[in-house]
């Protein structure tokens, strides 16, 4: 995504050699990931003077496309499942050439020596009649529950102990929604909301591959496996919340197509976007009232003033690096420090000279999941939680070039895979050899399903969570900036006193995945933060 550098701002060279920008913005957004773009656009549309600063050469963050080999492009996020419809409509993204994926990707549970499981547009193939029947009941329940939660992903979570009317209304609304689905479903919701994925799946199905495939969306991106208690089911419901019902698709132009539309919408709304402008420090003004955010300092020393700073970067980076602990209360600092931010998903990119063939699969046009059993996921996780990389990784594979030919030279293809579980902190530290080893074992795993793949590889790239952290400036290389778990969600996300997008520092706001509702490409945190700022 190219970048619009501001030419309009007036700069004066100061005696000390630092640049001082005499322009003052209403809001500066730190970080040009999709949430930063969404927030910037809402604010600019409201008439604010908005500057978005992105550290890297292009906006988009984990959704941005990169040429990982000449002619081959990929973004870390390779599909979209629950991007907010309201954001799409509010920001008129379609008029900025956003083409939501027309057809949901079939979800494929790859099997060996068995029929693949294919879930496509409401139909399930490749499983027993019993499981197919159970699947109907399972889907009905999950959809009902997802509907209960749906309104809350775009709401600011209430403050505990608050007697504010809006806060009480949100609590009341949730209660009413639960009540409205009927007593049985309400009790069922309370029962399953924090179940381990394994228990839920065991309750409904016999087929191990089906169980593993269905629980995938409750687990990916998190430090959780099927047996982990906590919020696998909630994560699944979160991903099912939008009109797409959790089905993944690839927008026109790939995920980057959405990013392009968002940047165009931001610029059209009047926001200024500057890339290659890494922020070193959030500047704070001191007064008798305490500290107040009033600008940023870039790594090259340039100072830009603004009435408020909105950080789309992760909470640890925002507070510990950009604000600095000396400017925060000790208890709050330590809650931010204790956020669990270690990513466990690595990214494999393969440049292929032709379309790979998956044994027994007519078309490799879906989201292919390699997790033959629940235990395959569990065992891969067991290794990673002790700092080792999984011997038999589990993964989700997409061939984006099947859907968008521009991502690879004619006739050639890109394979994009999320590989789990790969620890951010490998025992003994990450080395090229360690990365090579897990990359090779990932390719070996794929080769079991697509035997010819090794011969098709022109180039391979493997990004560990540590690589993601370095390249994308996201703490722990965590997709969601901080773990999506009971203690770090809703009015606890990222932690109390920063869970309503405002922070203990007046003038400083959060708008990224570390804020409610959380990660993935949703635009919801950016939307909610803008609403709070404009309130």
């Amino acid at each position: 995504m190219p970048c619009w550098r501001t030419m309009a701002s007036v700069r004066h060279k100061k005696n000390n050699g630092r640049y001082k920008n005499l322009d003052r913005y209403d809001s500066i957004i730190i970080g040009g990931g999709h949430n930063g773009l969404v927030c910037a656009t809402y604010l600019a549309k409201s008439g604010q003077r908005v500057l978005l600063l992105e550290a890297s050469e292009s906006v988009g963050g984990l959704g941005a496309s990169r040429e990982f080999h000449p002619g081959f492009h990929a973004s870390i996020a390779h599909s979209v499942s629950h991007f907010s419809k309201r954001v799409t409509d509010d920001l008129n993204l379609r008029s900025h050439a956003y083409v939501p994926g027309a057809n949901p990707l079939p979800t494929v549970g790859l099997g060996i020596d068995r029929e693949h499981i294919i879930f496509d547009q409401g139909t399930l193939r490749g499983v027993s009649a019993d499981d197919a029947e159970s699947f109907k009941n399972y889907s009905r329940l999950m959809h009902r529950l997802a509907d209960v939660l749906h309104p809350f992903w775009l709401k600011t979570m209430p403050r505990i102990g608050s007697s504010n009317f809006t806060d009480l209304m949100t609590f009341g609304h949730l209660g009413l929604n639960l009540r409205r689905i009927g007593k049985k479903d309400m009790l069922e919701f309370l029962r399953v909301a924090s179940l381990p994925a394994r228990d839920l799946m065991d309750e409904y199905f016999d087929d191990e591959t089906l169980k593993a495939t269905l629980s995938w969306d409750g687990l990916i991106g998190a430090k959780m496996a099927p047996r982990s208690p906590n919020s696998a089911v909630l994560a699944m419901l979160y991903r099912m919340a939008e009109i797409s019902r959790g089905e993944h698709s690839i927008p026109g132009g790939g995920v980057n197509g959405l990013i392009t539309a968002l940047s165009q919408a931001a610029v059209a709304a009047g926001a200024t976007i500057r890339c290659a402008a890494p922020v070193e420090r959030i500047r704070l003004a001191a007064s008798s009232d305490g500290l107040q955010a009033n600008g940023v300092q870039l790594t090259d020393g340039e100072i830009i003033a603004a009435d408020r700073i909105v950080s789309a970067t992760d909470p640890q980076r925002t507070f510990l690096n950009l604000v600095g602990v000396e400017n925060l209360d000790i208890g709050f600092t330590n809650r931010i420090r204790r956020l669990r931010c270690s990513g466990y998903v690595a990214k494999l990119h393969l440049a292929l000279n032709s379309l790979p063939e998956f044994t027994g699969l007519a078309q490799a046009n879906g989201r292919m999941i390699i997790a033959p059993k629940m235990d395959s996921i569990e065992f891969a996780y067991d290794a990673a939680k002790y700092g080792e990389s999984a011997e038999n990784p589990v993964m989700e594979i997409v061939l984006p070039s099947v859907h968008d030919a521009s991502l690879a030279p004619a006739g050639q293809h890109v394979l994009s895979a999320h590989v789990m579980y790969v620890p951010h902190e490998l025992k003994g530290g990450w080395t090229d050899a360690a990365r090579e080893r897990i990359c090779e074992s990932s390719i070996d795993t794929i080769a079991r399903y697509a035997p010819g793949i090794r011969e098709q590889i022109i180039h391979q790239e493997f990004l560990t969570p540590a690589d993601l952290e370095r390249c994308y400036r996201v703490t722990g290389g965590h997709w969601h900036h901080t773990e999506f778990a009971m203690d770090q969600m809703l009015m606890m996300r990222p932690t109390y006193e920063a869970a309503q997008y405002s922070t203990p520092i007046p003038g400083l706001y959060l708008c990224g995945a570390g804020s409610h509702p959380g990660g993935d490409i949703t635009g919801a945190p950016g939307h909610n933060a803008a609403r709070e700022i404009l309130r």
Binding site: L284, A286, S287, S288, D289, G290, L291, L320, G324, V325, E326, N327, L328, D329, I330, G331, F332, T333, N334, R337, E497, P504
Partner: protein, 398 residues
């Protein structure tokens, strides 16, 4: 025959001064403080109190928690932790400080000794390691070391204390102003002397490597023989500090990190320590909560009371009417003050009732029979005991 002590590790630690204290503690009145065997009193609490007020006496403060905080970021780390402005403390100066939770509730009070630009000592009544570690997180160059066992400390308090130190050969000690620190060579090591204390009177605290503890004791007692030097324990300390209106943990305040019930801890404003909260500092931990507290006014205010009669109002409720139907506060510490010749108390009084008349309902026992009386209270603005010698430099008779 030797047997292994099954309780080794559980037994109280002995202060470096213990061999002398053991001989002097003829009542065997021992208690414990931070794991150290510690004298409640040696001979008689009141006698020891009179020594503090009329001569001089020593109090073993080795068990006080002592932390060395070193490094380039030591000052900024401490400055963010405590409510006072640490940057205003000069080298070889001491400052009394408090530190609070994010909610502005007091964790503890203590003193900060600035020994160099990058070296401080923090002392406090209770272990503070966990909070210090939390406070230091995020700073690049701070090292915190618990030096409690590596530094013996003896408090010498009373009107003749300066003369004793001078007699011991600490030349120039009379030039030390309150909260000043001086260093003297002592048998190849350095003896640090701070003009500080917990009695409200003239006094000093002496800091020495533990292996020189007994030498210090002996030289001090030799020099002080003609000046009436005596040891004093916790009981006399508590009397002296109450006359000076100094607060005591578990009496005037409940440490916030050990408080379970909501707001059963205190803010500095409630403890009349608002003067320690420096809002000229742009930030310190708890600042925004404390600013709100200041603007709203504390719910309670620690108040000095002179109560009629001579029965200590220990544990009394304070009422806004003589019928004792309108409760407005409670006494935290009370005693008959021999020096002031008054029945004194510290009490937490509802701030909006401070200007009202107050009565204490005092219960007391006389030969196994319980009595009660209702006594009028007068609010005092100044400490009960604050002799000018405590602030004079050089001190009189020195």
């Amino acid at each position: 025959m030797t047997t292994t002590d099954p309780y080794a590790g559980e037994r109280l630690k002995l202060s470096p001064f213990y061999p002398r204290q053991e001989v002097l503690n003829i009542r065997e009145a021992w208690s414990a403080w931070n794991g150290y065997k510690f004298a409640e009193y040696y001979y008689d609490a009141e006698y020891e109190y009179f020594c503090v007020r009329n001569q001089c006496a020593t109090y073993d403060i080795t068990p006080m928690q002592k932390y060395e905080i070193r490094g380039r970021d030591a000052e900024v780390m401490l400055n963010r932790m405590v409510t006072r402005d640490v940057t205003k403390i000069g080298i070889d100066k001491v400052a009394y400080c408090v530190w609070c939770t994010d909610e502005g509730r007091m964790i503890d009070d203590g003193t900060i000794f600035k020994l160099a630009d990058d070296r401080f000592m923090l002392t406090c009544g209770s272990p503070c390691t966990a909070w210090l570690a939390k406070s230091a997180f995020g700073f690049d160059d701070v090292t915190i070391t618990d030096v409690t066992d590596d530094l013996a400390a003896l408090s010498l308090q009373g009107p003749t204390s300066c003369a004793v130190l001078k007699n011991m050969g600490l030349h120039g000690i009379d030039t030390a102003k309150p909260f000043n620190i001086m260093h003297f060579p002592f048998h190849g090591e350095s003896l640090m002397v701070s003009r500080t204390g917990f009695t409200g009177d003239l006094g000093y605290e002496l800091w020495i490597p533990p292996e020189l503890g007994l030498k210090l004791w002996d030289e001090l007692y030799a020099a002080g023989e003609d000046y009436g030097i005596q040891p004093y324990g916790e009981a006399a300390t508590n009397m002296a500090r109450l006359e000076a209106a100094f607060i005591m943990p578990a009496m005037e305040f409940n440490e916030a990190l050990r408080t379970v019930n909501f707001e059963h801890d205190q803010t500095p404003f409630e403890l009349s320590l608002g003067w320690l909260v420096d809002f000229d500092k742009p930030h310190f931990s708890g600042r925004s909560a404390l600013l709100k507290e200041k603007q709203r006014g504390p719910k309670y205010t620690l108040t000095k009371l002179d109560i009629e009669g001579n029965r200590p109002a220990e544990g009394s409720y304070i009422y806004g009417n003589k019928q004792c139907t309108k409760e407005i506060g409670y006494v935290t510490s009370a005693m008959w003050s021999p020096a002031v010749k008054a029945n004194i108390a510290l009490a937490m009084i509802m701030t909006d009732q401070l200007d009202n008349k107050m009565w204490a309902e005092i219960y007391y026992e006389k030969e196994l029979r319980q009595y009660s009386r209702i006594a009028a209270c007068t609010r005092k603005k100044k400490p009960f005991w604050a002799p000018s010698r405590a602030r004079a430099t050089p001190p009189p008779d020195c």
